[in-house]
Symmetry: D3
Subunit: 307 residues, 6 copies
């Protein structure tokens, strides 16, 4: 029935801003291409997994996933901490702005000229301009009273000219350095993550419709992680004579589960394995010096070891 059909598929909240481009690229590589009109927030997707995709500021996502307005969301873990919500991080997704892996820090900064070197030395009643007032409040709660002012962003522009301390996000630290600031405390390490609610994860087969959502969330997790894993891996396939087979297989780390197939020509085997690009240039000489012949390297677009 049409009524039922509409309720099939996940409702997903995705981040605009610094993660938007990387998210669109990841979904496209995962065969979940999103058609986004730059002026509209509801984007189009044609997939049985997904009912609706909405782009929004990442700060809004945890609360809306917790309330069940969306089934899953993608955002930085800083947004979860700041929002004080109880959502579940079901996967860490190693991507961020540009070629970054999405890892960053929420830090307390001050001018290089300020002799204060740790959070413990911050003067009582100091004014702190913070992009994360809730996280900042918890960090100072057991330490000393401070006056926390909300920052709309661009915090480093105001330290120390306008305010003595600031709390903001940093990945490479280049922007802090360029503005003459130093980090005196790390409040949080943050990464991009896939989140859902406790309600969805606690469904059982007894409520079939809700249980279906849980299955889709797990499928989405595997498809996204499988796509991200494929980015840094290739498929190697090579032939080897029977007498060299064992010697060759020792070169392939157990983890990679090589697939070994006997060739029609009884004296040869074909060996295939997925390997990390980073290990490739050390591995290929080792394989060829241990009996591999006709080695071919092929790009892959997804790899999933098991459910």
């Amino acid at each position: 029935m049409s009524e039922n059909q509409k309720s099939v598929g996940l409702r997903i909240a995705l981040p605009n801003g610094s993660l938007e481009e990387g998210t669109l690229r990841l979904f496209e590589e995962a065969n979940l291409k999103i058609w986004k009109d730059s002026r509209k927030h509801v984007a189009l997707i044609y997939s049985p997994l997904i009912l609706r995709v909405t782009f929004m500021r990442p700060q809004h996502i945890p609360a809306l996933v917790e309330r069940g307005v969306y089934d899953v969301g993608i955002c930085g873990s800083d947004c979860i901490e700041e929002s004080e919500t109880h959502v579940i991080q079901i996967a860490e997704l190693p991507y961020g702005r540009g070629a970054s892996n999405g890892v960053a820090k929420v830090v307390l900064v001050t001018s290089k000229e300020n002799p204060v070197e740790t959070i413990e030395q911050v003067e009582r009643e100091s004014v702190v301009l913070s992009e994360y007032p809730s996280i900042t409040k918890r960090a100072f709660a057991q330490r000393m009273p401070v006056d926390i002012r909300f920052s709309y962003g661009g915090t480093e522009a105001h330290i120390p000219g306008d305010y003595r301390y600031g709390v903001c996000l940093t990945d490479t630290g280049a922007s802090l350095k360029a503005n003459g600031l130093k980090v005196i405390h790390t409040l949080l390490e943050t990464h991009t993550c896939l989140i859902t609610s406790r309600e969805i994860l606690s469904t059982t087969a007894e409520s079939p419709k809700e249980h279906e959502s849980k299955k889709l969330v797990v499928a989405l997790k595997h498809l996204l992680l499988g796509t991200l894993a494929a980015r840094e891996r290739v498929f190697l396939v090579m032939n080897v004579q029977t007498r060299s087979k064992e010697r060759l297989l020792k070169q392939l780390p157990a983890l990679k589960t090589p697939t070994v197939t006997p060739l029609a020509d009884g004296d040869y085997f074909s060996v295939g394995a997925v390997v990390l690009k980073d290990e490739l240039n050390a591995l290929i000489p080792a394989l060829l010096m241990n009996g591999a012949e006709d080695l071919v390297e092929m790009p892959i677009s997804k790899v999933i070891r098991s459910w």
Copy 2:
């Protein structure tokens, strides 16, 4: 002999305009790269299949293929209908301008303000500005007399200010909408197609030289369709234990003919199959939940089931 050599290979007529970019991309992906100087119509290609490539307005192509000036051509089926020729469509090629699949419509349009809603209600002796006078004439022949004026294009600019009715091509309808027009009749649904003549297809092995052309036409059809098919497919390969093999294979639609190979380790099989990207995200969870291990997805550049 040089004389004979020259007659080997197909003479191909290709469309410039909206299909040009997509045609050049398709041929390059099919390892038939065309070197085109934007000012010349005859383009270069280095291939034993093809003797000569010429780019031209698609409207001209059907007549020239029918007359035997070219062995094959690519154009929209609207051009075939308008030209009233008897060429053979040997394959529908699902591509068009940009990311479109080449499907469009020839429509009769009028202003949204006009109360007329169907072609039957068009007033006798109306003036119709048409980019397809021949198709338009046939459409009105059994209905009512109208005064058909040829349009050089940009028809929607003139309705209703200059003329009351128009006939033009539309794919998304966005341009019609932007100009305040509505469609009151669809004269034709059109798609990109590969055409040849009856003469070439009716050759037999008794006239060897002509028969050779027929073989090349068939080869070209397979190479182009195989390339287009590969765009929307990937290769999946996975391992499965003997006891799960049958369960797993049931998930793979018969059509895909999975290739099953016993591994050296007697208890496992490797399974490979070409699958549609559109089915991938439903299929991968089903496979992994039914025994698939170490699943790898790889891009492909051509797929041809049989001749």
Copy 3:
């Protein structure tokens, strides 16, 4: 020990100028991505194979490799000849500026109006503006005395207006033609090559540290050549019934060593082979007409037959 660790890996001299872009692309495809700051000559690379990468004018490379300041280098063979060094060319690398294969010529040119047609007819005491004074000197040594002037480049601009003869590099000859010049002698055919010193190649297992460098040089050669070979090849895989297997394999040139695997279904084999893109469009019809089924073409990123 830190001291020892620093000495592991190759010191490589790479060319800036016309070969720079192609070199960066080749190393990236070979999983040896180089991070180059356009103002610095020492570039970054993260690889166990390579200790240090420096970009410089290719003319400087042979002398520095000969002196052992660098272990390997990439440059045109014209630079080796001009520098009169004794380095070893361990591989010809078929790439150059843009899509070129790196092959070029050092030529003696003069105006088309000049009746002189060969080097033997050059007038005694002629003035020759040369980008390669050393090669030029050797070319004229046994023939006639000439006055060789060093050219900083752009030699063709000065013939015949400012000087009667010139020696310069040319690949397509387009620049010579555009300036109204003709070639009257080819002094040298040149190509891009990977070079190392006699010392490194003559090491034996008795001096383990030096011997390690030799192994790394060989590994680098294979990885670069394997990457270049993959650019013009694809992987073909297809199924074939037992009764057609021999007929099919005859279509695959011996050189390609097809890999034949029996399928679980006893009556079929899977056949895989790496083939040249240039042969593909003739080969695919031949394979399908000789029993191949479910043929799939896949891109590859490296191919190495043996060490």
Copy 4:
């Protein structure tokens, strides 16, 4: 003295975000080119008028100017209202994002499907997602209690799916329309303005150093307004015979103060005037039909009537 020198020149707070590009362009046209490193907030400028330039979120600017941290600032008047500060708007600067004139509105929006049409009909205790909580609070204070939630931006993405009402900035309304929203109340009309503090404007010649700042603020206002005025004006110069002079001058509105110079040839005058581009195409025919000869139009880069 170096100490004194440092205190000469204005400290200016400039907006990043949508006004940044237009601000940089305006200052460059005014011969006050700013050298801005995209990662730094403090920018460089070489001018006797200006001591220091800092870019920041415009919301922060009014409070910092009020407090005297900066002498002048540029921001939208919405920021002044939201900040509840008492700064002085010394000039309205007619520029904004791209080619816009900087005029926009703060509006209360809801879904087109919502039958509510005015702010008076909003249901008591409604939840309002607002980018301007302070302005919103004042708007509802005398009307009805509502629950105002702060919005980080992208408000229209959440109406009505997540919240029933929203308050945001709009210029063309295109984004609202694209998201299916309607405006039910305008809370504020906003424009770009140059602001300073009461303290600076109230200085007198008795405190020379502070008074110098006031003079610089006035100079900056004239230079910026003179540059903006020049964008929409040109200089017209033409000759006229004595007998037609009075008739011609009647065509030139009094406001433009034409400059009339007698020519050496006693019977002619030269007439020059600055005129608005918008009036040009009506004015030029009128001038030429009333005796103007040899009319020339020239671009101008600044126009200032008086101090």
Copy 5:
């Protein structure tokens, strides 16, 4: 009254295609900026001169201007000839595609291999593929019977492969040369022109409303020609001592009507003149060597000598 107001201003038909970009640029320079949405044909303009701007294929323009649907139009004179309309060319506008001056030719072409060299030698009953059937018919009417086929464009692609003769437009001839064709007759020389109807030009002051349109047409002509003239001219202003004045003025061609003003310092005059950029580099040395001092060159945006 609203009815009357609507009828003020010209209705203009402008060409899309090769003249579109140049037309938009010209109108912008003339302070008649047109805001064109690439999907809409009716464009926006804010000017008392112009009521409505519509872009269309140039072939459609003469007939619509003749019928009075538009008051003025811009198109190539080839379109006028082919349409067999009786519109009036009120100005030749020297612009075309890119930097071209809009001058082109309608030519009869054939293959370079064809021994026919003039139109007189064309064989009776030849087939001519023509983009201008009406012009072609007139050209052959008094000569010989030929079979004229309408060409949709890209005519040179079909000569001689598909048809023996063709008629098409050419400006530089590069495209003809690239396709191996030669011109054997010029049917028409064509240029970009501003057209209107006889009706408009024949109005008198007795029918005031129509007469107003005539005035606007004349104004538009002057504004466009004045803008085009300014592109290739600059304004020179210089001082000269009384004793050198006559010598200096002899250097300035009579045509330029220099403006001479006595300076306050009784012994000097200021001299100003509009001169062609092409004459500038010969003129400036001559002026300075004949008494000019403090010479300044300034750009201009319009120049109109008289109505």
Copy 6:
């Protein structure tokens, strides 16, 4: 006569490489537009001043101007010194790569780690890699014997890894700093200059044809310098009442020669002057506060005070 005509106009040698773009821009601004095909060295120009333009490596230019093959040339003064020719610098042209003013230095550099701080401390028999062997030889001649090796460029890449000292060109020093080098001696300060030969400058009216060349060289100098001067200046024009005139003129530096014209209205004067952009923002307030009214600023394209 055609023979004579050909010999009119200058033969100019222009630099390719880092000065090419700036040279093309300067000549275009000076109404001497050069049409350059990137593959040809002889470029086209349509001007009575210039017969032939050839682009070449700047190192080749001084010798060819000295020999009389070209009448004038543009190159850095480093090329003149290195070539040891006796050409005449008739003007310093303040432009270089990008926005640079063309001023640079030939420097002796070494690693920051090297304790040597001046050229006097360089060790005897040191190896110096030099892009200027001739200048380097002269610098060391009276000091100490060194071994100078010719550098093809990119010298900083080799210090100190491959050679201890280097001689190269530097403008901002950024590249040296990025490579960890320091300057220990400046061999030469260099700038872009216009050169010609002693022969041309010493011609008199007695040899009319040669004398014509001298005149053209002087004209070229004035046109280029006048264009460069206009880049950093604008024209100011304002009105002033008789009683304020003297006060106002005191604000205008003597050097600027204001032009003062009495207005028709007997009580006012118009004042015009060319002023430097750098002084503009201090000057405009001063003028307005001393009686200027209706001040207008206009861009200029050339300014030449006298011959």
